[in-house]
């Protein structure tokens, strides 16, 4: 029986308790699709899997536990007594690829962006609902798994199929014409599914380290891309806006 270890770094005992209860409620691993919330826990290939929650009340302790326990997922509260949460995030990311979900009471977008740029994979602002937290946690675990799995290079979402090696995009069987920038954007999105990409990360993926006028129009390029692949660009199914932070690609067409 394999064990999935989740590390919770939070100085508030009540929040640790709420997160622990949610994690061990049995819904964390029942995930193959997004509607799997109510489905029973799914067996792994080697049988039943178990969730183990490790808790730390300080940043230092959290970093030590992250090194000692090799958790599959880290839940990190930013308001730690001993060091800034973003430092903890950076430190763990230096040697671990485990997904990090950040909990924050502050709503400033600049902070979210800084966190994602520092290596966090997702963030939740307090107060958050348990349902939302579990959905995010599942998404991160699933993404960590799929990232490791080999990819044949063809992605399909909705009526759109993207052939990465051939650089071909089809929608409802018809070839879509994308500009080079739109192609680079789309390729970045489909290779980072369910992950919030900050504007900076997208700039970097599309333009590399070059600085230029074009960068300020990133949102406009996304707008054009949406008009080509979304049925209703104002109510997008695939490329979602994270206001003030960036964009997130949902291949299954949900939010």
């Amino acid at each position: 029986m394999s064990t999935v270890t989740v590390l919770v770094i939070d100085d508030e005992p009540q929040i640790r308790r709420a997160v622990r209860n949610a994690l061990i409620s049995g819904r964390l691993l029942g995930a193959n699709g997004d509607s799997a919330m109510d489905s029973p826990p799914v067996s792994g290939s080697d049988g039943q899997r178990r969730v183990r929650v490790v808790e730390a009340a300080t940043g230092r302790e959290g970093i030590d536990l992250a090194a000692a326990e090799s958790p599959a997922l880290v839940v990190l509260d930013l308001g730690l007594p001993d060091m800034p949460g973003i430092e903890v995030c950076r430190e763990i990311r230096r040697w671990s690829s485990a997904p990090i979900i950040v909990l924050s009471a502050r709503h400033a977008d600049t902070e979210k962006v800084a966190l994602l740029d520092a290596g966090a994979d997702d963030y939740l602002t307090k107060p958050f609902s348990t349902i939302e937290f579990m959905a995010r946690a599942r998404a991160q675990l699933r993404r960590a798994q799929t990232a490791a799995s080999p990819n044949d290079g063809v992605m399909t979402f909705g009526d759109v199929s993207v052939d990465l090696p051939k650089r071909r995009v089809e929608r409802a069987g018809e070839l879509l014409h994308l500009t080079p920038t739109e192609w680079l954007l789309l390729r970045t999105f489909v290779t980072h599914p369910r992950q919030t990409l900050t504007h900076r990360q997208l700039f970097h993926a599309v333009w590399g380290n070059a600085e230029g006028d074009a960068q300020q129009y990133l949102r406009v390029y996304v707008g054009h891309l949406r008009r080509k692949i979304e049925a209703d660009p104002v109510r997008p199914q695939f490329i979602h806006t994270e206001a003030g932070v960036g964009y997130r690609f949902e291949p299954t067409g949900t939010s």
């Binding site: 074009a214 300020q216 949102r219 707008g223 660009p233 109510r235 206001a243 003030g244």
Partner: protein
């Protein structure tokens, strides 16, 4: 004695007249009585006095006295006098002449002084009227300083008052482009020992101090006395600096005056008058400067009162907001807390757990209120910085619809965008989003359940306009000015409609902070149109973006 050219001419002329009159009378001497001679000479003396002043009058009187004696009193052509009674005539003539010349002089100088004073009063009255007419007190101060500078021919003058902190600041100076040197002056200078100064200019104080002029301002504020700065940099404490420079026997060079500005015995500022050479005023100029200094003092006082009034008004507004905030916080925060506490108590004591849903709803309400209050305080404190980026209307509207999803559920939303055109603006998405969501919530809250809401986006000129159109009751004309005030709720609002009364106020604050705004207009056919106006962005044709 120094004489002007005009005075010399007058003197020659009148002595000429005296000689001519004397010669004429000499020809007619046999037929003239002593009284005739005396009266005619007196006439000449009076004429000379009134034409060229007292000195000429006295000179003419003595000249006539000698001529009278020499030519007209026997024995002739000697200064001897035969008849003792003739002495009486002669001396009487001299005294009468001198007294007349003196009286004439006095009358004339009084009239001149009166005229000069009338002119001065006139000038001050004009200045007073002019400065009072200036709407801004700073301009009035500047105008007075300009008058002082041009009238006295000095290089610069400025006014120093207590700054916000420890030092002193220049609040007005003439000429306008004088560099703001000495803008911050330290207040910690004090003269060694208290200078003993007698009242008035006669009490010439010995106390000189070579300390820098900077601490002097503070000293003047405390003691309410003026100072003159000498050419060698020494400072001399005096009670009336203008009068000091007008002292005729003064031998040192005055470079600057520091005049305390007092209103009702309180020093409100210091007027500093500076000139590179020696500043030497006439008594009239000194009086004029004293009068103008009082005008400056009144100007400073006026500026202070205006600033105080503005501050009081700002405080009143903050106070009004604070009390509204207190009401809102005590009511809107406590109501959900009361519910949560009651239900939690029930559950904790084994009651039914179906109230948990209510706890969740009430928590959301609390969260929304805390968010509103934080936003409001961010707007009020000016913390919304411009972090504008090019954003699309698609993004903004899409994100707003998602965020307002729960509120808009079950309601038809029509989206009216220009076909085949991507609209964009230069704004901060988070703040614009908050503003638009508030407009959507507002529309939803005040229009009948199920009635459709339309979102219409257009580019107009350099503005991006996103309108939210509802079929609610609209806003009565008399309430339209107030709907954007914090905590305003329509009088007819049902108590269960929820909301903090902050939505529109926050929306407008967030939009204004980005160079836009929120506009209201009634909708044709009933309802309201709230339009979020944001700075637009020119995108040009789509091909521009092919990279």
């Amino acid at each position: 004695m120094h004489m002007t050219r005009r005075q010399r001419v007058l003197w020659l002329l009148w002595f000429g007249v005296l000689v001519a009159v004397g010669a004429t009378m000499l020809v007619l001497r046999a037929r003239l009585d002593r009284a005739h001679v005396a009266l005619i000479f007196l006439l000449v003396v009076l004429g000379g006095s009134s034409a060229a002043g007292r000195a000429l009058g006295i000179a003419l009187a003595f000249g006539a006295f000698l001529a009278f004696n020499y030519f007209f009193l026997p024995p002739y052509l000697t200064f001897a006098i035969a008849d003792p009674l003739d002495w009486l005539v002669l001396v009487t003539f001299l005294i009468t002449s001198l007294v007349a010349a003196q009286l004439l002089y006095r009358a004339r100088s009084t009239a001149e002084a009166a005229m000069a004073r009338a002119a001065e009063v006139d000038r001050l009255a004009t200045l007073g009227a002019e400065t009072l007419n200036l709407a801004r007190p700073e301009d009035a101060l500047r105008a007075i300083l300009d008058v002082i500078r041009t009238t006295l021919g000095v290089v610069s003058c400025d006014v120093l008052i207590h700054g916000a902190g420890e030092g002193f600041v220049t609040i007005a100076h003439s000429p306008a482009d004088v560099s703001a040197q000495h803008n911050e002056l330290s207040a910690d200078w004090s003269p060694p020992g208290d200078p003993t100064v007698h009242d008035g200019v006669l009490g010439w104080p010995d106390t000189t101090d070579t300390a820098s002029a900077e601490g002097l301002v503070g000293w003047i504020f405390v003691h309410g006395r003026g100072a003159v700065e000498l050419a060698d940099g020494a400072i001399r404490i005096v009670d009336d600096p203008p009068l000091e420079t007008a002292r005729p026997e003064r031998s040192d060079e005055v470079r600057a005056l520091w005049i305390p500005l007092a209103v009702r015995n309180e020093t409100v500022g210091v007027l500093r008058v500076r000139t590179p050479g020696d500043l030497r005023l006439t008594l009239d100029q000194a009086r004029f400067l004293d009068a103008l200094a009082y005008y400056v003092a009144l100007g400073v006082e006026r500026q202070r009162l205006v600033a105080e009034a503005e501050r009081a008004e700002a405080e009143r507004r903050v106070e009004a907001l604070r009390s509204a905030l207190l009401t809102a916080v005590s009511h809107d925060l406590r109501t959900p807390l009361t519910t949560i506490k009651a239900i939690a108590h029930e559950i904790a004591h084994g009651g039914p757990t179906d109230g948990a849903r209510v706890i969740e709803d009430e928590s959301d309400r609390l969260d929304a209120l805390v968010g509103d209050l934080l936003d409001l305080s961010r707007i009020q404190s000016g913390a919304i910085g411009p972090s504008a980026e090019v954003n699309t209307a698609d993004d903004l509207i899409g994100a707003a619809l998602r965020r307002a999803d729960a509120i808009l559920r079950g309601r038809a939303i029509d989206i009216d965008l220009p076909p085949n055109q991507l609209l964009a603006g230069r704004f901060d998405l988070t703040n614009a989003l908050r503003a638009l969501v508030n407009l959507l919530e507002n529309a939803s809250k005040y229009s009948p359940t199920g009635s459709p809401i339309t979102i219409r986006a257009r580019q107009e000129g350099d503005r991006l306009r996103i309108a939210v159109l509802d079929r609610g009751p609209g806003v009565p004309v008399e309430e339209r000015a107030r709907i954007f005030e914090p905590f305003y709720r329509p009088a007819t609002t049902a108590p269960d409609v929820g909301g903090t009364g902050l939505g529109l106020s926050i929306a407008r604050g967030l939009a204004v902070a980005q160079g836009g705004g929120v506009e209201f207009e009634p909708r044709a056919g009933g309802g309201s149109v709230f339009t979020l106006v944001l700075p637009g962005a020119e995108l040009g044709s789509e091909s521009t973006f092919v990279v």
